[in-house]
């Protein structure tokens, strides 16, 4: 009896470990933290893209309307894809679009906007990427929907038709 006990314990443990790993393989490994939803927006100061004057976050997100903060860069290909959706969204007067230009070259960024249009009311500069980290972002493009100084929704990656409809239904 005792001779059989140890091998069977070992075999059962291996089966359990195998099942755990097998299940782990099927799960998605893209990790998105749930923590920042409904979090307060960070307090930061930045420089305006066009006039190069300093500006505090409290001067931008100062009313109770909806804001959409979009992190973008001219070198980012998915940003081009989502740009037409942002242009469309900017026609809606219930929402103000704020751009955060991430680690970009000024001339390239300006060419990008002249070519594809400027949907943003204000564009801020994030030259070293630290403001994006303050927001809890991973990279470009990334979009935050803000209401009453709280992050209501966060979209990692380019916006698409479905997400724009979702944003429109939230701000309705």
């Amino acid at each position: 009896m005792k001779d059989r006990l140890i091998p069977s314990i070992i075999i059962i443990s291996f089966i359990i470990i195998f099942l755990i790993f097998y299940k782990g393989l099927q799960e998605t490994n893209i990790y998105t933290p749930k923590s920042e939803i409904k979090k307060d927006i960070p307090i930061f100061s930045s420089v305006k893209f066009d006039t190069k004057e300093n500006i505090n976050s409290s001067e931008i997100f100062n009313s109770n309307k909806f804001y959409l903060l979009n992190i973008w860069a001219s070198w980012c290909v998915p940003c081009r894809q989502e740009h037409s959706y942002l242009m469309r969204l900017s026609e809606n007067n219930k929402i103000t679009l704020i751009g955060l230009n991430y680690k970009d070259n000024f001339n390239n960024a300006q060419n990008f906007l002249t070519k594809l249009g400027n949907p943003y009311e204000t564009i801020l500069l994030d030259e070293d990427g630290t403001i994006s980290i303050e927001w809890g972002a991973y990279g470009v493009p990334e979009t935050f929907l803000i209401h009453k100084n709280k992050i209501v929704a966060k979209y990692i990656g380019p916006l698409n038709e479905k997400l724009i409809n979702e944003i429109n239904s939230i701000i309705k």
């Binding site: 990790y31 923590s35 920042e36 990427g129 630290t130 980290i133 303050e134 991973y138």
Partner: protein, 119 residues
């Protein structure tokens, strides 16, 4: 003259020492932060855009006078517990912390029993 020399040497050394301290502190912190867009790399090891920005931000926070734990809390609030390589002990992580000790004790018990059996 000698005293003057000594003072001069001390003055020259002070910024170096404090700089080295900052660097050590920064390295220690960035080694415990996970680069979230890299595969299995810490912020310290990675040279990605994300990790480089994190390094700059850690420097800024250190300059602002935040302690190591305050910096961890800051990043934890932004990105969740996952960003830390050394998660804190709470109800979600206690198995993670206790399991190695349990396995160690169990192994020790088996070895002891075997040794006793041999004797």
């Amino acid at each position: 003259m000698r005293i003057l020399k000594i003072i001069l040497i001390i003055l020259l050394l002070i910024p170096k020492i404090s700089f080295a301290d900052d660097q050590l502190e920064r390295n220690k912190i960035t080694k415990n932060l996970r680069c979230l867009i890299c595969q299995g790399q810490s912020v310290y090891d990675s040279d990605s855009d994300f990790a480089n920005s994190m390094k700059i931000l850690v420097d800024k926070k250190l300059e602002e006078g935040l302690s190591e734990n305050q910096i961890y809390d800051f990043f934890k609030e932004k990105y969740g517990e996952w960003i830390l390589y050394e998660p804190s002990l709470n109800k979600n992580t206690y198995i993670l912390w206790i399991l190695p000790i349990l396995i160690f004790l169990l192994g020790g018990a088996i070895i002891l029993k075997k040794l006793k059996f041999k004797n």
